[in-house]
Symmetry: C2
């Protein structure tokens, strides 16, 4: 592995940790907890681990340690997020501190590694190669879902063989849901294997009162904001383009919102608001075109627009259209395939309900085609393939042409498109994520030492300096409720969408009028690792607003 | 202007300078020079400034100073490049050091500001707001060409009015060519206005023996390499995608090559090599597909490919096709517009020569359409609009399908596309560009003090520590030759393409076989401003290879 100069210099960074994790700890148990919703059902589904107390680590005398070594397994699940390697380093350092002969095993390419018995021991040499680096390449990741008894039993075989007594699953809401199901199952059969989850996802939608943020969100948003800032500066220099910038975040708009708070674009669309206001696609187009026309009146024929990846599914009318299309293709795809290509569009229009037909007819050709042709193996529209940034800019262009003809708009409109996702998922972690992840991993090892299962590692108060961070464990059942998934009611961790009453959105809302018309771009620049604290160690604006409120953050 | 924490911290950075610029200087003149080619013609076109000597600054006793203040004008020309603001800060500090009452005027939105008399005085307060920042927004930039006597005379009016005795033009090869023509003209009429050029372009194609590199190339390549490295790490973690990454660089592949040297992708296409080897589009597709198939045999169904923006124009067969298409549309566009859309493709094929018809027929529908429909106001194909990254991945996909049918390939191929350009043009300058640009600006002011005109500011030996850099001036005529442009022979600065015999390409060639098959990705990470010297102050690999050779650079 050829290393860059930065990678070499950064390898020796020692993540900052909560004071409490530096010495011996005692686990303080709170009172019994309840699930976020549907308490009766959740309790029935998780009889062995329901209602566990919140755990807080408290400093204790002596040195941390265990009489016997403990073997631990770790799994990376789902999409990459910056800091995953530091979680693993934290677990490793934690269990080694507890007993020098403890061992850490990594399962290869995600949950399938557990089922297929593909693993490798993660020794000190390997761990050192990956400290403070991005990516999940130390053991790879995967999207296999751990859901069935057969999988659990198959996994148990290898866990027993390797004498692994605890498994740490690093993943998003779904993976932590599955970790919880697994914890319950192993507990129910007295398997002697604890299961601990760690909150990962750049999307930032795994959070609640006890889990402040998922790791990776900080770094990914900072990488995207670096690029958006650079584009804004370019835009403000050449003064002739509108940049339509889509950012990752399929379900929630946290990334778009955080990037907006960091860079002050002229426009940022928040899916959750569109849904709440029941806006149509045309409403969005009109809103964007309106701001473009306003700026044009001041001679400003340029700007930046941030669009969340998942927007299209939050537009109620489009959601309905997609549902009808899915239904149509589920029943009539053989018929449809006989229709000549040039007539497919009209054919679809003839088959839809009048309301949806009208919307479908209004879509640009390319998007209409994508909705008709690009389907996943289950026949569903692949919404993530739809280039929302191009869709919007085309429709805005058309709207502005109409306004030009009506004499309502006299500007020039030229659009450039960007999509940022893969550019940030595997970036080397910021100080925040490096510290947070290492602490999460270390915390997981202490929960293991305490004999806990069905918990998520929790590190809180992270807008304070790291030594004041609070560490402990949150029972995963506490975050759950029942939701319909693929037609069945299932226990799941509630996904955290952008709250329209929360401080981050409220602050954005109070500023966006100004940002739209004035050019108040902010250029955050690249993530820094060696500079002053206020440059290197800032948490996200989202977290600062949530924890400190608006005044403290922006004073 | 709301400022980010990094911007605030970075504002106080004092660019490093050549030792010689810190005190008083004497200008040492070399012997008379010759133009790069067509000496007789160039001499005839530039009778007043042809053959000037190379100038070197030498340390002298005393303090730098002029008896009288001097007013200087500055113009930013063409696309943004990181460091432009520091050139201006260098000029400002230079002329203020020469005389505290000197003034600097910036012409607004490029050369048109000079012609239209749009300007603003750049005072110390303004300059301080822009030190070490990216973008050209201090005065904006533009693409108007300064070419005609009328423009020159119009410009002279405002220069005289503001008592400006020297004009600094910051731009690429074309803008510096125009600066030279302007210098000659003002000299010929004894206008009393000196003209000095500064080498700017992220593309890196304005360089020669005396101009080591154009500013902005370093920073832009580092931003793109940060992103490419992040994508590589993602790719190596999820192990299921081929990323096709197009990078800016219309005429030359310097950016693609530098990014490859920094990140070790599996494949990097260099346009100059394609042209030299007379490869067809199909040859390129076969080359890429071959490496993909090779990796697939080892179970590696992922990789990264860097593609230079201008590739398509360097493929001899496509170049010929485009020429014939341009010719066809110049004469037959009325006819063509009568043809039904669904038959346009066949119509074009019927009109082309057999050789070009075959190539046109082989192109994916989308690209064929772009070649037929998207034309600039002169009827030419807009090559920059063609999504080469998608074109290649589609054709590669088709080729792999064929190989699958023939049993020659058993892998999975899934492509993701990226284009990086605007993300890097206005980034805040790296230390290298911040230092280099400031020194260029300061050098320009010293050339002005020396009464020079028709020179480009030159700072050399930049792979050494900054205090050992050499500063002076290079007569612009020295870089010129005659070339055909829009049908006419014109004096122009020779564009520096990637040299296939140069050290950067030779090193790349020696390594690419290994990079293709092994996964030897390098993750450069984001530009750092505050860390160790080896992280913050490295020049480009290109420059290191050119100046120090392969062994020194990679030992």
């Amino acid at each position: 592995m050829t290393k860059s100069a930065l990678q070499i210099a950064r390898a020796s960074y020692k993540p900052k940790m909560p004071e409490v994790l530096k010495g011996n700890i005692r686990i303080k148990e709170g009172t019994a907890t309840e699930s976020a919703g549907d308490q009766e059902e959740i309790k029935k589904l998780f009889p062995n681990i329901y209602g566990l107390p919140i755990l807080d680590f408290v400093a204790d005398e002596g040195q941390p340690g265990m009489k016997d070594p403990i073997n631990v397994g770790v799994i990376l699940s789902g999409g990459q997020a910056p800091g995953g390697h530091n979680v693993i380093a934290g677990i490793y350092d934690g269990i080694k501190r507890l007993h020098s002969e403890s061992r850490l095993y990594g399962f290869i390419l995600g949950p399938s590694g557990l089922i297929n018995h593909e693993y490798k021991e993660l020794t000190g040499d390997i761990i050192d190669e990956y400290r403070n680096t991005g990516g999940f390449d130390i053991i790879g990741s995967g999207r296999t879902k751990l859901e069935t008894k057969e999988q659990f039993d198959k996994g148990l075989e290898i866990l027993k063989k390797l004498d692994i007594r605890a498994l740490v699953i690093i993943g998003g809401d779904d993976s932590n849901t599955n970790a919880c199901v697994l914890a319950e199952y192993y507990q129910s059969i007295n398997a002697g294997v604890q299961v601990i989850g760690c909150p990962k996802t750049i999307d930032g939608d795994l959070k609640n009162k006890q889990i402040e943020t998922s790791f990776g969100f900080d770094t990914a948003c900072k990488v995207y904001s670096e690029l958006i800032g650079n584009i804004e500066r370019d835009c403000n220099s050449s003064r002739k383009y509108w940049h339509f910038i889509k950012v990752m975040g399929r379900s929630a708009s946290h990334i778009a919102l955080e990037c907006a708070l960091q860079t002050h674009p002229n426009i940022c669309i928040i899916s959750e608001e569109i849904e709440a206001k029941k806006w149509s696609l045309d409403d969005i187009v009109e809103y964007i075109a309106g701001i473009i026309a306003n700026r044009a009146e001041q001679g400003l024929n340029f700007g930046t627009i941030i669009i969340p990846e998942g927007l299209i599914e939050f537009i109620p009318a489009i959601k309905k259209l997609i549902e009808e299309l899915n239904d149509f293709f589920a029943h009539s795809s053989d018929e449809f395939n006989l229709v000549r290509r040039s007539q497919q569009r009209d054919y679809i229009i003839s088959k839809l309900s009048p309301e949806n037909a009208k919307i479908y007819a209004s879509l640009p050709e390319k998007v209409a085609k994508q909705l008709a042709l690009d389907r996943d193996p289950h026949g569903n529209v692949q919404v993530s393939m739809i280039q929302t940034e191009e869709l919007l800019s085309q429709m805005v262009g058309k709207k502005l042409d109409e306004w030009t003809n009506e004499g309502k708009y006299k500007g020039k409109f030229s659009a450039i498109h960007h999509f940022f996702g893969y550019e940030g998922r595997s970036a080397a972690p910021s100080n925040y994520d490096a510290d947070y992840c290492y602490s999460l991993g270390y915390t997981a090892s202490m929960l293991i030492a305490g004999g806990k299962t069905g918990y998520m590692a929790s590190v809180r108060n992270t807008t304070a300096p790291a030594d004041k961070w609070i560490a402990g464990g949150i029972p995963i059942t506490m975050m759950m409720n029942m939701e319909r998934r693929s037609g069945k009611m299932k226990p799941v961790i509630r996904k955290a969408l952008v709250e329209l009453e929360g401080a981050p959105f409220r602050y954005f809302k109070s500023q966006r009028g100004k940002w739209a018309i004035e050019t108040d771009y902010v250029y955050p620049g690249p993530i820094q690792y060696f500079g002053p604290v206020e440059v290197c160690d800032q948490p996200t604006k989202t977290l600062q607003l949530e924890q400190k409120g608006i005044q403290m953050t922006f004073l």
